[in-house]
C-alpha cells in the first residue's frame, strides 16, 4: 500500500454496521440497519453524491417496477423517494396481462438526491460521513475501516456498496480519465484491500448517453410521450390524491437514421470498444449506439427518448444514445438526428469501467461465504440499475443488522419475490455482464405481481421492524377484504337484465339468459369487476382497489393454482439440504465441470444446486441418488 504511506492512522470511533458508499444500495442498507436500531455509519466519497442518479433520470420499468414495489413492502425508501420527486408516471405493458404491468416514473434527479440526503441525515442511529474508505481489515470485534486521512473506525459488519467507483475509469474516444460517475472522485484504494481480505474482483463496463439543452431541441420534429391520465405511485405511504393532482412532464421520441449510422460506421475505428481499448464486459440489454448500429446493420432507425432531468434544470437525457465515441463524432451523431440538428450538448456520453465482484462468492444473505460479517450490494455485486442496487442494499442492510442483533437472517427465495429471484440468480448462477432484472427471469411472475408485493413481503418488513404496526394491520385488513370479495363473487348469482346485457355487449361478451355467477362473468375476456358494480350494488362494499385485486385472482385462478403448485414443488427441492461436508470429488458420476462448480458455490440445498450453470439435470439426478443411497 505505497500510496497510503502519507497516512497517519488514528482511532476515530466505532459502529455496529459500516456501509461503504451512499448510492442507491448504500442508502437503503444504512437506512435499514439504522432503523432496526443498530448503530450505523454511512461513508460516501462526496456528500453531493448521496442517492445520485448518474444515468437515467427515472425509477422503475419492466421488472424494475416490481423491485420498487417490493422494496416499499419491505420498508425501504426508494418508492417514497421516487413518488415525491416524480416528473411523469407511466404504467408499461398495460393490456398485456397484470403480471407484466410495470410502473416507470421519470424523476427529478437533484430532488431525489436531496430527498435521500435529508432522509439519511434525519435518521437516528445513523451517521453520514464524507470519506473515502481505503482499507478494510479484520479486527477482534469484526472489521476496522480506514479513511484516506487516517480516521479508523471499528465495526462488526461492513456492507460494501461501491457502485461504479472502484478504480473507475471514464472513457471517451482516446481519452481515459481516472474518475467515477459524473466525474466524481474514484475509489482507487479499496480494491487492493478487498483482495487482501480474500475477495476476488473483476472489471465491468457500463455507459451513459449525452445530456442536451432543452431549448435547443426542435420539438416539432419529436413525437410526444405523455404520462398516464391516472398516474399510479409506488409507495403505500404516498398521498394518492396529491400524487394524481401533480402536473406531469412530457418526454419525447426521436429516431436515428441512415445518416447517423453512416457517421458511426465511418468512425467505428475510433470507438474504444471496437478498437479494443475497452476489454471489460458491458451489458447486452443496454448497448451503446455504436453497438446497436454494428450489430443490427439491417435496422433502418433506432428509437431515442428525450427525458427531463428535473424541474430546476434544462438538461435533457437522450436515452438510447449511450456511447464512448470521441466527442466530435458524438456531436456529429446527435446533429444528424431530426429534431436534434441544433442540439447543444451539455454533458458528453461516456463509458465507465470499474471493479466489481463475482457474486458467486456470496451467500443468499449477500454476506461473503468466506468472510463472515462482510456484505456486498449493488453494482459492486455485478448488477446494473438503481432498483437492482437498492433492493440488494436493503437485504444486505437488514442482514448486517440481523447479524449484529443475532437474529435469523432474511433470505428471499425465488418464489417469494423479484428480489429473491435476482439474488438467487446472482449468488447461484453468477453473471458475466452487469445483471439487470427482467420479467422473463422470474418463472413465478404470475404470483409475483406489482399489485400484491405488500401481501407477499410485508411480513418480512414487519419482522425487521421496518414496517409499522398500523400498516401491518392495514395489510391484514386488505388481505381479508380481497378474500371476502372473491368469495362473494364466487357465491353470488346475477340475474339476466337489460342493464347486464348492455354491460356485456359493451365488453364484447355474449348476453346471458339465466342467472350467472359473478365470478364466471369476471372470468370472461373483456369483462371486469368494476363494470358490474351497476348491476351488483353489493360490490360497492369494497374499494375499487380491492375489487381490482380480487379480479386478478378470479380471472387467473387456474394459472395461479398451477404456479402455486410449482412454487410448492420448488420449496420442496429447496428444503432438500445438501450436507455441508459433502465431498463432490467422491461422486464419480458428476461431470468435471459440475464437480468444480458445486465445490466452489457449495449450495445449501438441491434446489439451488439445480440452478447452477454447468450443473446439468443429469448431474442433479446423480446427486439426488447419491444422497438417497447415503441416507439409508
Amino acid at each position: 500500500m505505497d500510496q497510503l504511506k502519507d497516512v497517519t492512522a488514528f482511532q476515530a470511533g466505532s459502529c455496529r454496521v459500516a456501509v461503504v458508499g451512499a448510492g442507491h444500495a448504500g442508502v437503503e442498507a444504512a437506512l435499514a440497519s439504522a432503523r432496526m436500531g443498530v448503530d450505523t455509519i454511512l461513508f460516501t466519497l462526496s456528500l453531493e453524491a448521496v442517492g445520485n442518479m448518474p444515468c437515467n433520470p427515472s425509477i422503475g420499468g419492466t421488472g424494475k417496477g416490481h423491485l420498487v414495489f417490493e422494496i416499499d413492502a419491505l420498508g425501504g425508501e426508494m418508492g417514497r423517494a421516487a413518488d415525491s420527486v416524480s416528473l411523469q408516471s407511466r404504467m408499461l405493458n398495460l393490456g398485456k396481462g397484470p403480471a407484466v404491468h410495470s410502473l416507470r416514473q421519470q424523476s427529478d434527479r437533484r430532488a431525489y438526491h436531496a430527498y435521500m440526503k435529508k432522509t439519511v441525515e434525519n435518521t437516528s442511529h445513523l451517521r453520514l460521513i464524507q470519506a473515502e474508505i481505503c482499507r478494510i481489515q479484520r479486527s477482534e470485534q469484526g472489521f476496522s475501516l480506514m479513511t484516506r486521512f487516517g480516521a479508523t473506525y471499528k465495526s462488526n459488519c461492513v456492507v460494501v456498496c461501491s457502485g461504479t467507483y472502484l478504480r473507475a475509469d471514464i472513457v471517451v474516444g482516446d481519452v481515459t480519465l481516472a474518475a467515477g460517475p459524473d466525474l466524481f472522485y474514484p475509489a482507487n484504494h479499496l480494491t487492493e484491500s478487498l483482495e487482501e481480505l480474500g475477495v476476488s474482483l473483476r472489471r465491468f463496463k457500463t455507459g451513459t448517453p449525452p445530456r442536451i439543452h432543452a431549448d435547443s431541441i426542435d420539438y416539432d420534429l419529436c413525437e410526444e410521450q405523455a404520462g398516464d391520465a391516472d398516474p399510479v405511485c409506488f409507495s403505500y405511504d404516498t398521498d394518492r390524491d396529491a400524487f394524481r393532482r401533480k402536473k406531469q412532464r412530457k418526454c419525447y421520441v426521436v429516431y436515428t437514421n441512415e445518416k447517423t449510422h453512416e457517421i458511426i460506421r465511418a468512425n467505428i475505428h475510433r470507438s474504444p470498444l471496437y478498437a479494443g481499448k475497452i476489454k471489460s464486459t458491458g451489458p447486452r440489454y443496454c448497448p451503446s449506439i455504436e453497438d446497436k448500429v454494428m450489430r443490427f446493420p439491417d435496422k433502418e432507425r433506432h428509437q431515442l427518448f428525450l427525458e427531463p432531468m428535473g424541474e430546476d434544470t434544462k438538461e435533457i437525457y437522450v436515452q438510447g444514445l449511450s456511447s464512448s465515441l470521441p466527442e466530435d463524432v458524438q456531436m456529429e451523431v446527435i446533429h444528424s438526428i431530426p429534431g436534434l440538428e441544433h442540439a447543444q450538448v451539455m454533458r458528453t456520453a461516456y463509458a465507465i469501467e470499474y471493479d466489481c465482484i463475482d457474486p458467486l462468492q456470496l451467500r443468499p444473505t449477500l454476506e461473503f461465504r468466506e468472510i463472515p460479517g462482510l456484505f456486498g450490494a449493488g453494482q459492486f455485486n455485478g448488477t446494473s440499475g438503481y432498483e437492482e442496487a437498492a433492493c440488494q442494499g436493503l437485504v444486505a442492510g437488514i442482514n448486517a443488522a440481523y447479524r449484529v442483533l443475532d437474529q435469523k437472517p432474511l433470505v428471499l427465495t425465488r418464489e417469494s419475490s423479484y428480489i429473491g429471484t435476482l439474488i438467487d440468480d446472482l449468488v447461484t448462477k453468477g453473471t458475466n455482464e452487469p445483471y439487470r432484472i427482467m420479467t422473463s427471469r422470474c418463472e413465478y411472475r404470475l404470483i409475483l405481481r406489482q399489485d400484491n408485493a405488500d401481501l407477499r413481503l410485508l411480513e418480512e418488513g414487519y419482522r425487521a421492524g421496518l414496517i409499522d404496526h398500523e400498516r401491518y394491520l392495514a395489510k391484514k385488513r386488505l388481505e381479508k377484504d380481497i378474500e371476502d370479495a372473491i368469495q362473494f363473487a364466487e357465491a353470488t348469482y346475477l340475474a339476466p337484465s337489460d342493464a347486464l346485457s348492455r354491460i356485456l355487449s359493451n365488453a364484447g361478451s355474449q348476453a346471458v339468459t339465466t342467472g350467472v355467477k359473478t365470478a364466471d362473468l369476471i372470468r370472461r375476456p373483456g369483462v371486469g369487476v368494476l363494470m358490474l358494480k351497476d348491476v351488483c350494488p353489493d360490490l360497492a362494499r369494497w374499494s375499487d382497489e380491492v375489487l381490482s385485486r380480487a379480479e386478478i385472482e378470479i380471472k387467473y385462478a387456474g394459472y395461479i393454482k398451477r404456479q402455486l403448485a410449482q412454487a410448492a414443488l420448488f420449496r420442496k427441492l429447496e428444503s432438500r439440504p445438501i450436507p455441508e461436508d459433502i465431498c463432490y470429488d467422491d461422486i464419480g458420476g458428476l461431470r468435471l465441470e459440475a464437480r468444480q462448480k458445486l465445490s466452489r458455490i457449495r449450495p445449501e440445498n438441491i434446489g439451488r444446486a439445480s440452478r447452477i450453470s454447468g450443473v446439468s439435470p443429469a448431474d442433479i439426478s446423480v446427486l439426488l441418488i447419491y444422497l438417497n443411497l447415503n441416507r439409508g
Partner: protein, 460 residues
C-alpha cells in the same frame, strides 16, 4: 459417505439351469471370500474378470451349499463402477435363496429395486436416457423392438426433441422481447406473427407424439381382433395369419364360442390377435350368447380390427350387426374390412360395407397371399417412415404423455396471446419447454428418476 455393500439374485425367480447373484460395494470381495472357496485355493481377486470354479459355503465355512463359478470385477471397471462379484450357482429356488442368505449373513445387505442401476448412474456408468433405453431393451418382445430401442438409446429421439426445443425457444423469444422491452420499437409485432411460429412447433410435437402409435405397435404390441358374423371365415383367417391350425375350423356357423388369442408379427408390427365368436342378432344358445358379448367387448379394447364379410352370400342383418358393433371401437382404432371366400362367385353388395377403408379380397382356401394385408396393417401403424428410419419414434407412454402436455401448453399459449393475456402465454411456453426437456430426461424432477428406475427389477 460410504455406500453399503449390496447383494441380490440377478436372474429371474423360479427354477433354471443356473442362477446369477451379484454383490456390489466396497466390501464385495470380502463378503464373497467368506462364502466362496476357490478349488485352486488362490485368492480370486488376483484373477479379475476370470471365471473361477469353487465351492459355495455358509459363512461359518461348515456346510457346502453348492458349487459354482465366481467372477470378480474390481472398481471402476464394473457394471456399477464399484467392486462387483458375480456368482453362478445352480438354478434351484432353494439353492439360490440359501446362497443369497449366505452372502447377506457374510455382511452384504439386500439391494433395493434398481439399486445396481442407481449406483451405476451415480458412478457415471450409465446416463438416465441410456437407462431408459436399456429398460426398453429389457422389455422388448420382438427383434424389431430391439432395433428400435437401440436406436433410441443412441439418441435419435433426443436429437429430435432438442431440435424442437430449440425452435420453441426461438419462437418464444419474440414474445419475451415484446414484454421486457415495451419501449423499444418491437411493439409492432402482431399476434399472428407470434403465434405462427408456435403453430409450427406444435405441428412438430404432434408428429413426434403421434409416433407413439408406431412405437407402441413395434415395442409392446397392439390388441387386434377378428370379427364377423358366424361362418364368415374368421378362424380360417386367424389360422392363415398364424400359419397354424389354432382355431377349430368347420363349416358349422358358431364353431368358435370363446375368443382365442395368439401373438403375431405383421411386418414390423406385433399384434396380440384374438379370434372371436361370430356376431349374430339372436341366439338361444347361452354359451354362444356369452361368446358374442365377449366379441363385442373385444372390439371396444382393440386397436386393430379385421372385419370379415363373406362375399359369397348376400349382405344380411348379421353383417349389419357387425357394422353397428364397430361403432364401439375406440377412437383411432384401425378397421380393415376383409371380404372372404373370394374363390366363390361374388354375391355380397359391397356398397353396404361403408367402413372408410377399401375392403381387401381374400380367398383362404389354399395358401392365400397375405402380403397386401400385412402391408396395409404396417402402413396404418408406421405412419411416418422417415421418422422410423431415423429411429425418432416414441416408445414409452411417459414420453408420449410429456409431449402431449407440451402440445397442450403451446395451444394454451396461442389462445392466451390472441386474448391479450401475454403474461399467461409466457408461463405456458416455459412449461411447454420444461415438459419437452422432461420428455428426454433433461429435467431434474425426481419423478422422472423414480419412474425410470422403477422399471428395473431388483438385481438388474
Amino acid at each position: 459417505m460410504v455406500f453399503s455393500t449390496i447383494a441380490a439374485v440377478s436372474t429371474p425367480r423360479g427354477k433354471g439351469g443356473v442362477a446369477l447373484l451379484r454383490v456390489s460395494g466396497p466390501d464385495a470381495f470380502a463378503v464373497a471370500s467368506r462364502v466362496f472357496y476357490p478349488m485352486d485355493g488362490k485368492d480370486f481377486t488376483l484373477a479379475p474378470r476370470k471365471q473361477i470354479y469353487g465351492e459355495i459355503r455358509t459363512p461359518d465355512g461348515r456346510s457346502v451349499l453348492d458349487d459354482g463359478l465366481l467372477c470378480a470385477f474390481p472398481a471402476p471397471h464394473s457394471f456399477t463402477g464399484e467392486d462387483v462379484v458375480e456368482i453362478c450357482c445352480h438354478g434351484g429356488e432353494v439353492v439360490t435363496a440359501s446362497v443369497l442368505e449366505a452372502l447377506l449373513t457374510a455382511g452384504a445387505v439386500m439391494a433395493g429395486p434398481g439399486e445396481f442401476s442407481r449406483r451405476a448412474h451415480v458412478n457415471g456408468k450409465m446416463s438416465l436416457s441410456a437407462a431408459e433405453g436399456i429398460a426398453d431393451l429389457l422389455d422388448a418382445k420382438t427383434r424389431e423392438a430391439v432395433v428400435l430401442s437401440s436406436k433410441h438409446a443412441r439418441g435419435a429421439v433426443s436429437e429430435k426433441i432438442a431440435a424442437i426445443a430449440e425452435k420453441l425457444t426461438a419462437a418464444s423469444s419474440s414474445l419475451w422481447a415484446y414484454l421486457d422491452y415495451p419501449e423499444e420499437d418491437l411493439q409492432s409485432l402482431t399476434d399472428e406473427e407470434m403465434t405462427s411460429s408456435l403453430s409450427e412447433v406444435l405441428g412438430d410435437i404432434r408428429a413426434l407424439s403421434a409416433s407413439f402409435r408406431t412405437g407402441r405397435a413395434v415395442n409392446n404390441g397392439i390388441p387386434g381382433v377378428i370379427v364377423g358374423k358366424p361362418n364368415a371365415g374368421k378362424s380360417t383367417f386367424f389360422n392363415a395369419l398364424l400359419r397354424e391350425e389354432r382355431s377349430i375350423v368347420t363349416s358349422i356357423p358358431g364353431t368358435t364360442r370363446d375368443t382365442v388369442d395368439a401373438p403375431l408379427m405383421m411386418g414390423r408390427i406385433l399384434v396380440d390377435l384374438s379370434d372371436t365368436a361370430g356376431i349374430r342378432r339372436e341366439t338361444d344358445d347361452v354359451v354362444e350368447s356369452i361368446g358374442i358379448d365377449r366379441s363385442l367387448s373385444a372390439i371396444t379394447g382393440a386397436e386393430l380390427i379385421f372385419a370379415l364379410f363373406d362375399r359369397s352370400v348376400p349382405f344380411d342383418e348379421n353383417d349389419q350387426k357387425v357394422i353397428d358393433a364397430l361403432h364401439g371401437a375406440p377412437e383411432g382404432a384401425v378397421i380393415l374390412p376383409v371380404l372372404t371366400k373370394c374363390d366363390l362367385p361374388a354375391v355380397l353388395d359391397e356398397a353396404r360395407i361403408s367402413l372408410g377403408e377399401k375392403p381387401l379380397t381374400l380367398s383362404l382356401k389354399e395358401g392365400a397371399d397375405l402380403t397386401e394385408l400385412t402391408e396395409r396393417v404396417e402402413k396404418a401403424f408406421v405412419t411416418d417412415e422417415d421418422l422410423y428410419r431415423e429411429g425418432a419414434v416414441i416408445t414409452n407412454a411417459r414420453q408420449a404423455a410429456c409431449l402431449n402436455r407440451a402440445a397442450e401448453r403451446i395451444e394454451s399459449a396461442v389462445s392466451s396471446i390472441r386474448s391479450g393475456a401475454k403474461d399467461l402465454a409466457t408461463l405456458d411456453l416455459e412449461e411447454a419447454l420444461a415438459t419437452l426437456l422432461e420428455t428426454d430426461g433433461k429435467s431434474a424432477g425426481e419423478k422422472i428418476l423414480n419412474e425410470v428406475f422403477s422399471r428395473f427389477c431388483v438385481g438388474k
